[in-house]
């Protein structure tokens, strides 16, 4: 989806369900959200997936996009 991911929109990785993985550094230009900015539904999905796993959200409606960082008990990256 974004050039940040280094993937073209048609690449299989983009159509695969999103996942989260812990990160220690925040890449320059990344969008960062605090957990409290997310909807109840997305919070639930993120808390379930964290620190690493499949994120059960619809990226077309959720405010989270691939490449975003979320500040939770770890910093996690949506990919």
């Amino acid at each position: 989806m974004s050039s940040k991911d280094g993937q073209s929109p048609s690449s299989p990785a983009v159509t695969a369900p999103p996942t989260v993985a812990p990160v220690t550094d925040v890449p320059p230009g990344a969008r960062v959200h605090h957990f409290d900015e997310l909807s109840e539904r997305t919070q639930h999905a993120l808390a379930t997936a964290s620190p690493a796993g499949r994120l059960d959200i619809d990226t077309t409606t959720s405010r989270l996009s691939r490449g975003d960082i979320v500040v939770f008990t770890d910093y996690v990256r949506v990919q």
Binding site: P28, V32, H34, D36, E40, H44, A47, T48, V71, T73
Partner: protein, 429 residues
Amino acid sequence: MREIAIHINPEYKRRVMSQSYVIVGDGIAGASAAETLREEEPDADITIITDEGEPLYNRILIKEFAKGKLPEAPISIHDESWYDDRDVDLELNTLVTDIDPEGHTITAHDGTEYDYDKLLLAIGGTPTQLPVENSDAEGIHHFWTFQDARDIKEHIEGADNSVVIGAGLLGIDLAAITAAQEVEGKYLMRGKAWWRYALSEEGAEIIHEALRERNVEPVFDSGVDHFEVDDDDRVTTAVDPNGDRYDADFVGIAIGLNFNTEILGGTDIEYDNGIYTDEFMRTNHDDIFAAGDITEFHDLILGDRAQNGAWGSAKEQGTIAAKNMVDYGSEEFRWVSSYSITHFDFPFLSFGHPTLGDDHVEAKYSDTEWRRLAIKDGKIVGGVLIGDLSPQTKYKKLMREQVDVSGQKEILVKQDFQLDDLEGAAAEQ
């Protein structure tokens, strides 16, 4: 020359002439109102005024900046072009000092007057100062703005030892900042537990232990009687009411907020701790609305006046206020607020009004898992979840729908609680 008077029906005038909206405060409540107003009224004049020197930033991420974990860039939410692109006039560094509800004008510190058809007050609060000797010394910090976070970061990075005062949700951010910056510290609390109005000692002990692991020592039945300073008026020591002394070259204070109601003095806008609004975020003046931390709103769920202090709630109130400024009565604010802590290995979330209630139920499941629900008139009004946030949605649903859980409170804290564990009417929800 003869003048001809033309009488225009006010309702017609309202519809054909563009409205002028003025918003005071560019926090999340004011900024989300501006965004909604522009969506709802493409031709309206919109002005947003703030006494801060920068446009909207993410107030709930500034702690991560002060910890040294995030750079400045991702904390900014809007740059000035955001306002230009939406044709919203942004006035930075402008303190509003007066409101004239009859004349429909507000006045800024430099004497500039702004006329409005509809006004939104999204003015939040200011940290309360500790009324003790030397509390304005160098090295003593309060925490609300991005500038506060920059000052805290700069100072804590060179500090040797710290004291934090204020056993609540903002105090723990300060304690977490000292921990992340590896500055050993004491966290002075008045009672025997952190956030003692929402957590029992058993629940709070999970937080105390996590602090100790990070070299921040909770000190109970304490507080501050006065500070000692050196010849340069820099803080050196906090002395508590028991006479115990704690050396600290960094002090963080978070004992509460004073809501910014001074500008209401001399008006008949109703307020107490915050500004009174109805569920449409309107004050007792038809053309004046309020949103965010500053409101004491009519809470439809609680059936009473309430005040929230959380990002999501302030954002939603800004949106709802804007809709009702355009079309009064179009959407009510009905919301269960929540606030989480992300500093530890386990998650923490409080929701609703966890310090209220005439009854409660709690349970501990492990060293890092605990739950407490506050109950009023047989209904959940708030709670705290530590370790496992998965029941959040269920509890919030019960609260939102005001389900009577009388006689079933132990079922609510079964570790794997499901909504259909509840009997009768409650189970049908």
